[in-house]
Amino acid sequence: MSDSVETAAVAAPAPSLNTGQSGTVVRSTVIRRLLRNPLGIIAMAILLAISLLAILAPVLAPFQENYSNIAKTLAAPDSVNILGTDSAGRDVWSRLLFGAQLTLLSALLCAGVAIAIGLPAGLIAGYYAGKFEAVSNWMVSILMSLPGLIVLLTIRAAFGPSVWISMIAFGILISPSYFRLTRTAVQSVRNELYVDAARVSGLSDLSIIARHIFSVVRAPIIIQTAAIAGVAIAIQSGLEFLGLGDPTKATWGVMLSEGFKNVYLNPTLLFWPALAMALTIGGLVLLGNAIRDALEDGEKIKHRKKAAQQKGTTAAPARAGQQRQSMAAVELGTEHHLVKVTNLGVGYPQADGSVKKVVDDVSFHVDRGEILGIVGESGSGKSQTAFSILGLLPDNARIVAGSIQFDGNYTVAPGEERVDQARLSRLRGKRISYIPQEPMSNLDPAFTIGYQLVTPMVRVLGIPKEEARKRALKLLADVGIANPERTFSAYPHEVSGGMAQRVLIAGAISCEPDLVIADEPTTALDVTVQADVLDLLRELQQRLNIGVILVTHNFGVVADLCDRVAVMQNGRLVEEGSVRDILRNPKEQYTRTLLASMLEGKTPMSMLVSSQKEPAA
């Protein structure tokens, strides 16, 4: 279902050709994923079988649970008593079935009580916060500090040996776990915009909780319940094993206790209830794990050894050998380029074995002292291209075609599937550096700015700490920070976004790189700050004569900084040229469309792109 939509979304802005991004995102639903997990199937089968046996106990059991045949105690299995009898001559098979009924029901009761208390309390506390949350936190702390087993023993002494009462008590004792789970989940969505939108729509709090908030806690509650039901069975059986259960009821715990007393006479009496409990608890735990795995989106995809790409290349091994030889030498006459990307393709293997290509046949080069702008919209593959030069693609990404060379050496040789980290880590930080989009999330809040500037210099340049400190202070002054000393000893949260970006630029040039890759370096900044940062980048680039790859979506930024521009769309490079050519006389329709979307110089309130009936964005 989602496949067609994804394709539609790609196809909508412009008719997608056969080249460019291909493949679709393949997702599978939770249930299907659960069924594909062998542990999930086994767990569900076991639990289903035990539940069926429990439900059908009155039909299946040959005897009543307490029917005893005094004449036939501790009998071995035969055709009448298929699992034998216990010390009172009761049928083990029948008692096992009725025991399943009681055990499962009491576990359900326990989980039910815990949910009934913990879930609503957690929802209210999480959504409203304030006094209710404070009071309920107190109650939870008190409940959790109570020694559970002692409370259960006290309750048994006060109310008698009822399974139900002890399970209700245990449910209350364990309700804090639901409370905390729910409250945390609700707190995380309380301030989401869709909740605000519902408030603006005038939805009552109750409807907001029911519609928008409850769905968030549903999954964790199910997982938690599987675990808690298992714990409840264990606790209940434990109490009964100690002889604190109701001897008139057949439960697995009572049977275990009975078997333990006769362990020397008939060890199998111990075996059957123990097996039943182990299967049930194990099944519940496995089911919980399987659901959790199914809900976590990260599907593990085994990449079929370049199956998609090498189909048709029969002489694959020979080719690989040949490539290893050509490793050292790049194509003659291209070694003077600082960076040269040739026919690069980047793809992600999908669950069904296909490869979703995000970059296809991209070639460009950057020389020393030159700024190349890569322009494109989100999903055009511009960041993926930049990341493959940096060697920072996610683990599951594959270089499906092409090569990358840096200063006359391959970092990705033709035919290689992944970026060679050993080769790149020698370059990264030292000769290639990176300026990220989000300055704040790229500084570690736990360390001072000075520490984060000094450490790489000490590691990479091998200079003493004192010297690195001096250099860092000079760099901070160079990037236009008025009081370098104060910024040096400040923590990231103490400086503004524009300041943080200056710090990162200082860090990027600290080890005197040859190439700086800047991924939307000003997008997160205010316009006035952006202008300052652009000034800074231009000044530094000219002074240090470095090559820069500037990834951006903003043609204004391109006009401000770049010498050359490459325009990307759907993973392909559609047009490349000098900044004046591209901005003034674009040849490709796509570039023209992008430039036409600029607001600068347009008549206010006029339609920008849609004189006729517009297509969906």
Binding site: L193, G497, D560, V609
Partner: protein, 294 residues
């Protein structure tokens, strides 16, 4: 409240001397003042653009109008009614006329609900029955240019621009008189932004709705607004017709803002850069002089 002439000439929304303060987390500390003495008004079918940098309070002003931020002092009047401290019940009535489109189309739609359910939500609150609601949802999808089979799809199956269309459709569901647009195009690509801006303009032309349009981008605000207010540090520093404020601003901050926005041509941008440096120098000079006099 309801003398005849007042009703006729009164603007749709007036905000008078608005102050918004957030209580400080620290015990007995001074509350944080997000907005100081805000005065704006929006007429029928008019767009007021609100521009400013991050932290200037422009989003807070939108939220205060929607009842999502605490009004400490001052008055917000909508169609002659004081809504500064409207209750949830009053808000429910108000939601017919006052709606919102948020910045981030990824978090403003509940990921677990189908598009149809998202759009039907405000209709259900107003007690519209299911078949009528379904019909209205189809109309809305058509109005914002989405296929009608979108009803049974989840938000994650749509691109950012399409999601923003869904958010706009939700705001339009009850045919409101005023939509607060909180940076509705900032998270979108350039060409998507252009299409969504077209959509906003088209809707205004068709329905006569008013917008309070919050953005950090002077170009966007210039394009879509009749009048523009510039916010700086929680105050409105300049307000007037869009053409004046966005082309020939008076306040030093607006002047800086105007020249900071880069233009897509290397030579004109170089010119603008020089202009900006000249402006910054002269402003610094003035500042120093003012300091010397004082």
């Amino acid at each position: 409240m309801s003398t005849m002439e007042a009703e006729e000439s009164a603007p749709l929304l007036t905000v008078e001397n608005l102050v918004v303060e957030y209580p400080s987390k620290k015990f007995r500390a001074k509350p944080f003042r997000a907005l100081t003495d805000i005065n704006i008004s929006i007429g029928q079918g008019e767009t007021l653009g609100l521009v400013g940098e991050s932290g200037s309070g422009k989003t807070t002003l939108g939220r205060a109008v929607l009842g999502l931020a605490p009004v400490t002092d001052g008055r917000i009047t909508f169609e002659g009614r004081d809504i500064s401290h409207a209750t949830r019940k009053q808000r429910r009535t108000l939601s017919r006329d006052l709606q919102v489109v948020f910045q981030d189309p990824y978090t403003s739609l509940n990921p677990a609900l189908e598009i149809g359910a998202i759009l039907a939500e405000p209709l259900g609150v107003q007690g519209l029955e299911q078949t009528a609601a379904r019909k209205r949802v189809k109309e809305l999808l058509d109005q914002v240019g989405l296929p009608s089979d979108a009803i049974h799809r989840l938000p994650r199956e749509f691109s950012g621009g399409q999601r923003q269309r869904v958010a706009i459709a939700r705001a339009l569901a009850l045919s409101p008189k005023l939509i607060v647009c909180d940076e509705p195009v900032s998270a979108l690509d350039l060409s998507t932004q252009a299409r969504v801006l077209d959509l906003f303009l088209q809707i205004q032309k068709d329905t006569g709705v008013s917008y309070l349009f919050v953005s950090h981008d002077l170009d966007v605000v210039r394009h879509i607004s009749h009048r523009v207010a510039v916010m700086y540090h929680g105050e409105i520093v300049e307000q007037g017709p869009a053409a004046v404020v966005t082309r020939d601003p008076e306040h030093p901050y607006t002047q800086r803002l105007l020249l900071a926005s880069p233009v897509p041509d290397p030579d004109r941008q170089e010119q603008r850069r020089a202009d900006r440096h000249r402006l910054l120098d002269s402003q610094r000079h003035q500042h120093e002089q003012a300091g010397a006099v004082a």
